[in-house]
């Protein structure tokens, strides 16, 4: 099933020319680049691209953050065009978002950094609370504007303030928000496209990763002083 969903998403992208729209910085549409923009007219056709957990307002903010982390530029594709917002939304809607495999029983006491994160926060809450508090901060300190309405350089400055400990949230450390978002952005950008991000294996092409399930037994010797540069293949191409 996953394969079918994934292939249809990528086909949509190619057909709709969504990447071009993004290059023009189409943040006006909350769904642009999330692989969740309106597509066919048949009822049900939009299901695979609908937001599940994030609200459209939240999605705009997430889009602006992941676009700051990994912008589209001369180096390679941006996180938005590779479907990272849609990836994050799906991750949050499932077990990951609910903290599956995370130990979330109390008592919740704070300790030293070496003991690891101790709060009861699960990723869904990290997003929901963190986005609200980020927007409140921008409203107060950035002329009543929302984060996504800031110019790229300003967005970058706000995220750096969090990183440097100059901006904190009332409810929990803002750095937790930052590292959660960055972690999920890189997972969406670099994971196999079967998960909805890394559309067209764009990040793999950029760094030169040929994909999983390769057989290099003979290739190590054959490529001693040159790059092995075969085009990548993903899991769905092999199943």
């Amino acid at each position: 099933m996953d394969d079918i969903v994934d292939k249809s998403r990528r086909m949509f992208f190619v057909k709709s020319g969504a990447t071009t729209a993004l290059a023009a910085g189409a943040l006006a549409s909350p769904l642009a680049g999330c692989a969740i923009a309106p597509a066919a007219k048949e009822p049900g056709a939009k299901n695979a691209r609908a937001l599940v957990f994030l609200t459209p307002e939240e999605a705009k903010c997430v889009e602006a953050i992941v676009d700051t982390f990994i912008p589209k530029d001369d180096v390679g594709p941006g996180a938005v065009e590779l479907g990272v917002v849609g990836f994050i939304d799906r991750r949050l809607s499932g077990g990951y978002g609910l903290g599956a495999n995370q130990h979330v029983a109390g008592p919740f006491l704070s300790g030293v950094a070496e003991q690891g994160a101790q709060s009861a926060l699960v990723p869904r809450e990290t997003y929901r609370i963190g986005i609200e508090e980020l927007q409140a901060h921008c409203g107060k300190n950035r002329g009543g504007r929302r984060f996504e309405a800031l110019a790229p350089a300003e967005r970058n400055a706000v995220l750096h303030e969090i990183r440097d400990g100059k901006l904190d949230f009332p409810s929990y450390p803002a750095r937790v928000f930052l590292s959660q978002l960055f972690n999920d952005t890189t997972e969406g950008y670099f994971s196999d496209p079967i998960h909805g991000g890394n559309i067209g294996m764009g990040s793999w092409k950029m760094i030169g990763f040929p994909g999983p399930f390769r057989i290099y037994t003979q290739e190590i010797e054959k490529n001693r002083d040159r790059k092995f540069a075969d085009a990548p293949r993903g899991i769905a191409d092999l199943t």
Binding site: D73, V75, G111, M206, F209
Partner: protein
């Protein structure tokens, strides 16, 4: 109320390497063996599928590891702190299900060095007893390398070990490790093909007079059928090895190597989704009568048995001993007691080398045990006394495969995100390698395992509490090894070498290694060890406790080879001595 089941002759708790090897060795006796495994069964063939190489699923969501929502441990650096739960996977990743951590290991298959087995005797011989700090528990295993050699050999044969011998019956062989203990014969298969990064390391190290060699691997360098009739495919160097099942049937695992043998034994029964909660002892606490376990639905069962083998992971074995009252718990205040004593880990340091652009590394080509390594700085070989520490270790360059979510090095000074970060990542992907040490970790009075007074797991049991930090001895070692790594990096003639110092304190957060040791140390003195030299509980003679929990201190090498060898050694003692006359073997 537990349902009482028909008695078994032997009950085995946990079906990783130790449990499966033990079951296989004892199956020939005809005894009725019941193995209880807390997780599911994943046959080796279930990984012959491209989806088995999904980095998000296996390296980030860690599908093969234990579910921390149900079971985890608490941790603190010192006894003055309050221990708190390890809420997310970090420092070590413990497997769950048939194969245990042997299903997701990288395959590095060492024999430990003679020194590791007799660290105390050899240290005193060289430096005198006064060189050992008072709070350091430096102990001999009670079994020597020479005694274990046949068992190391047997496991290498089972695994289709790929390597080059350095010492065959005292004769030094070119291309192998000249410092290793004498071996009875060559490895069954030739070494793996060295990656570009491993080659660079070997060239650099040789240039300054060191002795690099390919690490021994349980990843078959050629297709092979082992003496038990188990067939391995040839390693594909696909780069998805540790954390993953093998898609080529090339890496030895309990699932591939032992379970097919056990499937043919009518006297062996495997029960999966059977989580053992405790071992039940008789009133005198001298004899185990049964184990209590719950199935997937939470129903409780009591499985009586004449002999109990604890073969869960290091931490789970110690946990079960403490919960069941097998042996006296260690008390750091008095230094008395043995269960939970001698817990240890390995400290890390090294150097990152940003290599010459003319020699791209193809970093995605690799396998779990593909390493170039050297033992020039191992204890017994190197005079560490000159530098003020006991111990030493290996220095290596590993090529497990640069999977893109996990492996995207950038040079220091790179912005944390954005275009320049992307540019650095793309520029560096083919041109960075890490030289790192894997070092011995001594045991100390202040580092131990016990039961947590506050936190309970999903089954209502007190969690295991880990109190651990590094010591001056280990910091001196790690800093010295970082300097040595820089020297080798510079000898490689690379562009830029950046020293990686050890962390300021042990942290449970970043992944380091699943090489936890101790807590149920083996030895010849019941005052300082939890099990005797045959891995039999000193106090409860029909309980054997196998695994790296038996190591009195941590070696500078991966533990699996020695875990298997000591298990085979203990199985031999059970078969040939214990069963003939059940009782204390020492």
């Amino acid at each position: 109320m537990a349902t009482k089941l028909k008695s078994a002759d032997v009950v085995i708790v946990g079906m990783g390497w130790t449990g499966s090897l033990m079951a296989n060795e004892l199956a020939g006796t005809g005894l009725r063996i019941v193995a209880l495994e807390r997780g599911i069964n994943r046959p080796a063939e279930s990984f012959f599928d491209p989806r088995s190489h999904d980095e998000l699923r296996y390296s980030r969501d860690l599908e093969l590891m234990q579910n921390l929502a149900r079971e985890t441990n608490t941790f603190r650096n010192t006894a003055a702190q309050t221990a708190l739960p390890m809420r997310r996977h970090g420092s070590f990743t413990i497997g769950e299900g048939v194969g245990g951590s042997g299903l997701h290991w990288g395959g590095v298959l060492w024999r430990l060095m003679p020194w590791d087995h007799e660290a105390r005797r050899m240290t005193i011989e060289r430096y005198g007893a006064g060189a050992i700090p008072q709070d350091m528990y430096l102990q001999d295993w009670g079994v020597t390398y020479g005694e274990l050699e046949p068992y190391y050999d047997r496991f290498e044969q089972m695994c289709g070990a790929s390597g080059k011998a350095g010492n065959i019956r005292g004769r030094i062989e070119a291309g192998g490790n000249p410092f290793e203990g004498p071996r009875s014969r060559e490895y069954p298969l030739p070494p793996l093909t060295m990656s570009n990064a491993a080659k660079l390391f070997m060239e650099g190290a040789a240039r300054i007079g060191l002795h690099p060699f390919p690490a021994p691997a349980a990843n078959a360098s050629r297709a092979w059928t082992n003496p038990d009739g188990i067939t391995y495919g040839q390693c594909r160097y696909c780069g998805f090895c540790e954390n993953y099942g093998c898609e080529a049937g090339a890496r030895a695992s309990p699932n591939q190597t032992v379970l097919p043998l056990l499937a043919k034994k009518a006297n062996f029964e495997l029960r999966t989704n059977a989580r053992v909660l405790k071992v039940n002892l008789d009133a005198a606490k001298k004899r185990a009568v049964s184990v209590t376990y719950v199935d997937a639905a939470g129903r409780e069962f009591e499985q009586p048995a004449d002999l109990v083998v604890l073969s869960a992971y290091v931490l789970a074995n110690v946990h079960l001993m403490l919960l069941s009252g097998i042996g006296k718990p260690f008390d750091p205040a008095t230094g008395q007691g043995v269960v939970g004593r001698s817990y240890s880990y390995q400290i890390r340091s090294g150097a990152t080398v940003y290599t010459d652009k003319s020699r791209p590394l193809n970093p995605f080509m690799g396998t779990g045990a593909l390493q170039a390594v050297l033992d020039d700085y191992y204890p017994q070989v190197y005079d560490s006394g000159k530098f003020g520490f006991i111990g030493g270790g290996t220095i290596q360059v590993a090529s497990p495969g640069a999977r893109p979510i996990e492996s995207r090095p950038v040079p220091p000074g790179t912005p944390p995100w954005g275009t320049e970060w992307k540019r650095a990542m793309v520029d560096t992907y083919h041109h960075a390698l890490t030289i790192r040490n894997q070092s011995t970790g001594m045991s100390y009075r202040k580092n131990y395992l016990d039961l947590d007074p506050t936190y309970r797991d999903g089954f209502g049991r007190p969690m295991l509490r880990m109190t651990f930090d590094y010591n001056d001895n280990e910091y001196r070692l790690a800093n010295h090894f970082a300097d040595l790594s820089v020297k080798i990096g510079e000898a490689m003639g690379a562009g830029k070498v950046v020293r990686a110092a050890p962390s300021k304190a042990y942290s449970i957060v970043p992944y380091q290694s699943t090489h936890n040791t101790g807590g149920a140390a083996m030895g010849t003195d019941r005052e300082t060890s939890a099990v005797n030299r045959f891995l039999q509980s000193w106090d409860v003679a029909n309980v054997f406790v196998v695994g790296a929990c038996a190591f009195p201190q941590n070696a500078g090498k991966n533990p699996t080879g020695a875990v298997a060898a000591t298990t085979l050694w203990a199985a031999d003692a059970i078969r040939n001595r214990y069963l003939k006359s059940p009782g204390a073997l020492a």
